[in-house]
């Protein structure tokens, strides 16, 4: 892993931008995912789907208490054991207790973001349980001992060469760059664990309140295996994953798969309602569902309930121009990167230092808002977070002062006029007669390191309007000689002046 994800924000960004290997991988992957997504959503009436998906999720979040109770009632009726956990620690304690009492030695896991949030693997390993990730991407990063970099494709930051080397070292695989041979090696290895594990742990994509059903989306089939083969199945579900009706789950399932991977339907959609019956050949003998809060109620209390509608499809990060440049690890030690991560991380993490820079790591272009299948107004949430962080004085005092000073000048026309007159003098006192500055002192050097900065005009528009005197550079499309020159070769130009 090239980026130190525990380093301060600025150094993470710097490291991410200078790692050309990861940048290439992320760029390629995001380009493909965005393309696949676009094809899949353009093939349907996407606007109607988004409207309906939004209705379902907003309704669910606004009726969370009643729906949770309905879900619990039906899960219990179906034969599940339901547990509630306010914090990640509580959830881990419940899991440890179940593992201890059932004498679990190995647990297999399908992909679950909430289990990343609560660091479940570490917690179980503390009591000597071997936890094996079964989603191929998660398995790879588990072997590599790295955090995931994307919520749908956790290992897009790795090249096939890196993964091959990993498999050669850890699985004794023959050297190859053929993904199908590599997958075979993983299949063989993980099949052993699937068949021998004492406990299966899964997340939950949707929890259907009306029937007490836990829905899991996978393409590999590990979701089915985790929820069918071991004698004990534990579901870890964030409390916001609820939907009222079966039809809701069917719609959101397809919305998620189209947006996440560009598929019309994921290969597997497992709908588990309870343990096996006595005359069934297979299935878990016990099903536990742990309903986890872990700061979700805080998110709602702080007035950001919108973020709880997220169905974890990853569309926002696939279209984000910032994510495309820096990849997921640059967002730091968090389960959620990208636009939704820039909202959830500062809201949910106890340590505000981890997330406080993320709401500002955006140009607010709005691509994420247009992509989100449940129509979360992500830019709006980022703006409000910026405001909250400012008001709570968590942002840099210097930045706040600078912005306040700008505002002070702009508030009164007279002050503004004086300031612009002063600015106009730069033309008079400039050494060079060009229209731009190439090098400025701090803090404006932040701009001029890699860009020139337009000089203030000697006459503002207001002055011109008053005096109607024009002495301005008027645009003229250049003459033919200039046209012949075209772009300078890349060899002659430095891409960056660092």
């Amino acid at each position: 892993m090239s980026i130190d994800i525990d380093a301060p924000y600025k150094s993470r960004i710097r490291e991410a931008l200078s790692d050309s290997g990861v940048r290439k991988a992320v760029d390629r992957a995001m380009g493909q995912l965005a393309q696949r997504r676009e094809r899949a959503v353009n093939a349907i009436d996407n606007e109607t789907m988004r409207d309906e998906a939004r209705e379902i999720r907003e309704h669910a979040v606004r009726n969370l208490p009643a729906l949770l109770v309905e879900l619990e009632t039906n899960l219990i009726r179906n034969g599940c054991e339901v547990h509630w956990a306010r914090t990640g620690d509580e959830a881990n304690d419940i899991l440890k207790e179940i593992a201890r009492t059932r004498k679990v030695k190995t647990a297999i896991k399908s992909k679950s973001m909430v289990t990343e949030e609560i660091h479940l693997n570490t917690s179980l390993e503390e009591i000597g349980v071997k936890v094996v990730e079964t989603d191929l991407g998660e398995y790879i990063i588990q072997l590599a001992d790295e955090p995931p970099s994307h919520i749908v494709a956790p290992v897009i930051h790795k090249r096939v060469e890196d993964i091959s080397e990993l498999f050669q070292n850890e699985l004794g695989m023959e050297p190859t760059l053929d993904p199908s041979i590599m997958c075979d090696a993983a299949r063989k290895e993980l099949r052993k664990h699937f068949l021998a594990a004492d406990m299966g742990i899964s997340g939950c994509n949707f929890a259907i309140a009306e029937t007490g059903t836990i829905c899991i989306i996978t393409n590999e089939g590990n979701g089915r295996m985790v929820s069918s083969l071991p004698p004990v199945h534990v579901v870890v579900a964030g409390i916001e994953k609820i939907v009222p009706k079966v039809e809701d789950a069917i719609l959101l399932w397809q919305a998620a798969t189209r947006n996440a991977t560009g598929q019309d339907a994921s290969v597997y959609f497992s709908m588990t309602s309870g343990p096996k019956k006595s005359n069934h050949a297979d299935g878990p003998k016990e099903v536990h569902v742990i309903l986890v809060d872990n700061a979700r109620t805080n998110v709602m209390e702080k007035g950001y309930a919108d973020a709880l509608m997220c169905i974890r499809c990853g569309a926002c990060m696939d279209v984000c121009p910032v994510y495309r440049e820096i990849g997921g690890h640059a967002y730091g030690r968090t389960a959620y990167p990208g636009p939704i991560g820039s909202i959830l991380t500062p809201l949910m993490n106890e340590n505000i230092d981890i997330g406080k820079d993320l709401p500002f790591a955006s140009s607010l272009c709005g691509a994420c808002k247009d992509a989100c299948p449940v129509k979360i107004d992500l830019p709006r949430l980022l703006l409000e977070l910026r405001n909250d962080l400012s008001e709570e004085k968590i942002t840099s005092p210097f930045q706040r002062f600078l912005v306040k000073s700008f505002a002070w000048i702009l508030k009164r026309p007279k002050r503004y006029l004086i300031a612009t007159k002063i600015a106009g003098l730069t033309q008079k006192f400039s050494v060079r007669s060009t229209q731009t500055f190439s090098n400025l002192p701090s803090p404006f050097n932040h701009w001029t390191k890699s860009r020139v900065l337009q000089k203030p005009s000697s006459k503002t528009f207001k002055e011109i309007w008053k005096n109607s005197s024009a002495d301005l550079p008027v645009w003229k499309t250049p003459s033919p000689e200039w046209k012949d020159r075209g772009f300078i070769n890349d060899d002659e130009t430095q891409e960056s002046n660092r």
Binding site: E325, L364, C365, L410, W475, F487, E492
Partner: protein, 249 residues
């Protein structure tokens, strides 16, 4: 019609304001330019200091709403995509928090009657601009994110640009990807901002554009900032200037 040029145009690019005024005057529009205008408040709002930006919004509303209410002007026109979006789209956020009937009323009438320049030319005036002597070549178009996504204005500038290029407007690869300016984002996150700008510049090169029309001087400052620093020949030009040039005989 009331003209709001934006603080960046006033101070850095008055020629854009002049071109805008010329374009509108040539269409027979009476221009009212309230001289005590300053800034719409967007950079301050986006920096996360809403209380500060609220005062600027209130100033703007106090200048323009009464004129609309008294029917002295029928519209506000702005040669800036992001300012138009701020006023039409985001002022209501600030105003809602104040719970003032007066502000709500002012905000409503202002946002319903504010237009970005190309939007006004096409949708309201149905403007037919005079033909150029020769069509512009190797021109492409970079859409300002806020104009395109918050206001859904995209077809209008393209229509005007197709007209002056004899329908040979170049297609910019990844046109809808943000250039990386983002207001103060370009300072607080300058490395990231520049990388995004470099991608935009790379795409400009890929389509062999010599000129890129923009409707926001923020994008323009940032993109030209990189182009000039790199010694490239391509330039970003404001759409008002390109259209006004067409009218020069």
């Amino acid at each position: 019609m009331g003209l709001f040029v934006s603080c960046m145009v006033d101070v850095l690019y008055p020629q854009v304001g002049v071109a805008t005024a010329k374009l509108l005057a040539d269409q027979g529009v009476d221009i009212v330019f309230p001289e005590n205008q300053t800034c719409c408040g967007q950079p301050i709002f986006n920096a996360g200091q809403q209380e500060e930006s609220y005062i600027l919004a209130a100033n703007f509303l106090e200048i323009f709403a009464p004129m609309l209410e008294r029917k002295e002007i029928s519209a506000i026109v702005i040669p800036s995509g992001s300012c138009a979006a701020m006023i039409k789209h985001s002022y209501s956020i600030l105003v809602e928090k104040k719970q003032s009937d007066k502000l709500a009323r002012q905000c409503k009438i202002v946002s319903e009657n504010t237009y970005e320049l190309s939007e006004y030319l096409v949708d309201v005036l149905g403007a037919k601009l005079p033909q150029r002597d020769s069509p512009l070549e190797r021109l492409t178009y970079h859409p300002c994110c806020h104009l395109m996504r918050d206001l859904r204005v995209d077809q209008q500038p393209r229509q005007l640009l197709e007209a002056i290029t004899d329908n040979k407007l170049l297609s910019l690869p990844e046109a809808e990807t943000c250039c990386g300016f983002g207001g103060l984002f370009s300072l607080w996150n300058e490395e990231l901002s520049v990388e995004m700008g470099l991608r935009k510049v790379k795409n400009l090169k890929a389509c062999d554009a010599e000129l890129v029309a923009v409707n926001d001087v923020g994008c323009m400052t940032h993109i030209n900032g990189i182009l000039i620093k790199q010694g490239r020949v391509c330039r970003a030009v404001h759409i008002a200037e390109l259209l006004a040039e067409s009218e020069t005989k």
